[in-house]
């Protein structure tokens, strides 16, 4: 049953034009950003003393796109669960012989796989942006896969997982897609508040800022330009602790939604 639902939902997205639009938009935006930074559109578009594909630069690009990716979550993760309520198909589906575990995990995983695929195209766009023939070779380092992998697996995916579970659970409980949008904004605001109150150089904000950026930048903030251009991303243990804190938070949030949800609950319309 798990695989049946997973397969159905994946097929639904792969046959849906909006998936390809999201994917193309992110791919093209990433590609143009990198190409621009590498001087592919002429001198004026980039400061020539910055290396466009240095590990820190790749990190900064993905940090930027991460914020936009958040707004895919209601549209993809939220709507995957919401469409059952919106169409009123749940009145039939919830009497079918599949378990809540299979249902919720398949719904979440399928939509998260779709988000992860779109996210790959951000990295791919950044990479191919360095391959534009008109790019200035002096502003590019030779290809290195590590920063792409680090930004994808240590930052983008865990962050989308956190915000994805928040959207999933709020839509599951409220049966309202807009509450999903609002929850993204609220969590984002919360992270800003944490930074303001705790201060950017505090251990609290290293741990509790949900994107893991503050912990990372506590080191990179002090780099000189040549260090920014050449050094690999230095990820101190605190960055991994931050990721663990929020991974754990994601699991707790999902568990709350899981425990709360039941096929046989009072449907108050």
């Amino acid at each position: 049953m798990f695989l049946t639902i997973l397969h159905f939902e994946l097929k639904y997205w792969l046959k849906n034009w909006s998936f390809y639009i999201y994917l193309s938009v992110f791919f093209v935006m990433a590609l143009l950003s990198m190409a621009g930074a590498a001087g592919a559109f002429g001198e004026g578009t980039a400061s020539t003393d910055h290396i466009a594909n240095s590990p820190l630069s790749i990190y900064n690009f993905t940090k930027f796109f991460n914020k936009f990716l958040l707004f895919l979550l209601p549209a993809i993760v939220g709507s995957t669960i919401y469409k059952d309520f919106k169409s009123n198909f749940n009145n039939i589906l919830f009497t079918y012989p599949f378990s809540k575990t299979n249902y919720l995990f398949a719904k979440f995983l399928s939509s998260f796989i779709i988000v992860s695929i779109i996210t790959i195209f951000v990295e791919l766009g950044l990479f191919l942006g360095t391959k534009i023939p008109t790019a200035n070779g002096a502003q590019l380092l030779p290809f290195d896969a590590l920063p792409y992998l680090q930004t994808y697996f240590i930052f983008l995916i865990p962050n989308l997982l956190l915000f994805g579970t928040v959207v999933f659970v709020t839509v599951l409980i409220s049966r309202n897609i807009y509450v999903g949008f609002i929850s993204v904004i609220l969590l984002w605001l919360l992270s800003e508040i944490v930074l303001r109150i705790a201060g950017i150089e505090s251990l609290t904000s290293f741990l509790l800022e949900p994107f893991g950026n503050n912990a990372t930048q506590s080191i990179t903030r002090h780099w000189t330009l040549s260090e920014q251009n050449t050094l690999p991303l230095v990820l101190q243990p605190i960055v991994y602790y931050n990721r663990l804190v929020w991974l754990f938070a994601s699991i707790i949030i999902f568990t709350i939604g899981y425990r709360w949800f039941s096929f046989s609950q009072n449907l108050l319309h």
Binding site: I5, N88, F89, I92, L93, S99, N266, L267
Partner: protein
């Protein structure tokens, strides 16, 4: 094959008591659940279909403890809700294929055979490639039957399926139900007395979350044989008649006079004429008794 509902109660969070210590036993065949709006029919059916839990009571289908083993019941349940939709832009065939897989039919060949079979039973074969969300009301209800048949259910629950259907579609729908009634229990809710008369071999009248009367339609009318009287009176007299007699129903004639049907053991007055008792009388008597109680 028996469905045993015992002392079922349900009060919604807003304070409405939709099921009130309801006890009912249903045997194989077509069972009609008749009741006015708000009687609690859907509440009972959703509870039977494991979509909501009662506050109290038990439900047993054969030896399945429904409330404690909902999954076991679901495997043998077919449910058509009063109000449902489907995913947009999907054809009947594609939807049924998914739903059949969800009902546990893993072999593609079995699925295809089964889907063809249920499409033919429900007369949807010709429109199987159209989107279900573009179906007419009657077609959609028949699709609802097609999906519930996919697991060859032993317990079938259909909640007010004829509401909003035109007479031709209603007949087509009732014929589909007749065709699938064989070795199972079909519970059918409605507020249209004729649906029961045309279809059911057993029935219950429900209101206020209670069963007011349970009997076979033919026996129910037999009980009140010789106790139904009609009289044609003027509009002004209606109120007086209602005070004097148990007026079950009143219908206006073209000349603005009124035909009233009265329930009484003896002829109430010499101007009353004896009428043939019908199921509608049974229904109104049950509701009247309930309101007075």
């Amino acid at each position: 094959m028996t469905l045993r509902i015992n002392k079922l109660s349900k009060t919604y969070p807003n304070g409405v008591k939709a099921l009130d210590n309801l006890t009912l036993e249903i045997q194989k065949g077509m069972f009609g659940l008749l009741g006015p709006n708000g009687a609690g029919k859907s509440s009972l059916m959703r509870t039977l279909a494991t979509l909501q839990n009662p506050d109290e009571g038990t439900i047993y289908f054969e030896d399945i403890d429904v409330l404690n083993n909902p999954m076991t019941l679901r495997k043998t349940l077919g449910y058509l809700p009063q109000d449902f939709g489907v995913y947009p832009k999907m054809s009947a065939m594609d939807l049924l294929d998914y739903l059949a897989t969800l009902k546990g039919i893993t072999s593609r060949k079995d699925r295809n055979n089964l889907i063809q079979q249920v499409l033919e039973i429900t007369n949807l074969y010709g429109v199987r490639k159209q989107f279900v969300d573009n179906y007419s009301g009657g077609m959609k209800q028949r699709f609802g039957i097609a999906q519930l048949l996919l697991n060859n259910p032993k317990l079938i629950i259909v909640d007010e399926p004829t509401a909003g259907l035109d007479p031709a579609e209603r007949n087509r729908f009732l014929n589909v139900l007749r065709e699938i009634a064989s070795s199972n229990i079909i519970i059918f809710s409605t507020h249209i007395v004729d649906d029961i008369k045309d279809l059911c071999n057993d029935m219950a009248i429900m209101n206020g979350g209670k069963i007011l009367k349970k009997s076979k339609p033919s026996e129910a009318t037999k009980e009140i044989e010789n106790k139904i009287w009609i009289h044609n009176c003027s509009r002004e007299k209606l109120e007086e008649m209602e005070q004097l007699h148990i007026v079950l129903s009143s219908k206006y004639n073209e000349d603005n006079s009124i035909n009233i049907r009265v329930y009484a053991n003896e002829q109430p007055a010499e101007y009353f004429i004896k009428a043939t008792a019908n199921l509608e009388d049974v229904y109104f008597i049950a509701l009247k008794n309930h309101h007075q109680a």
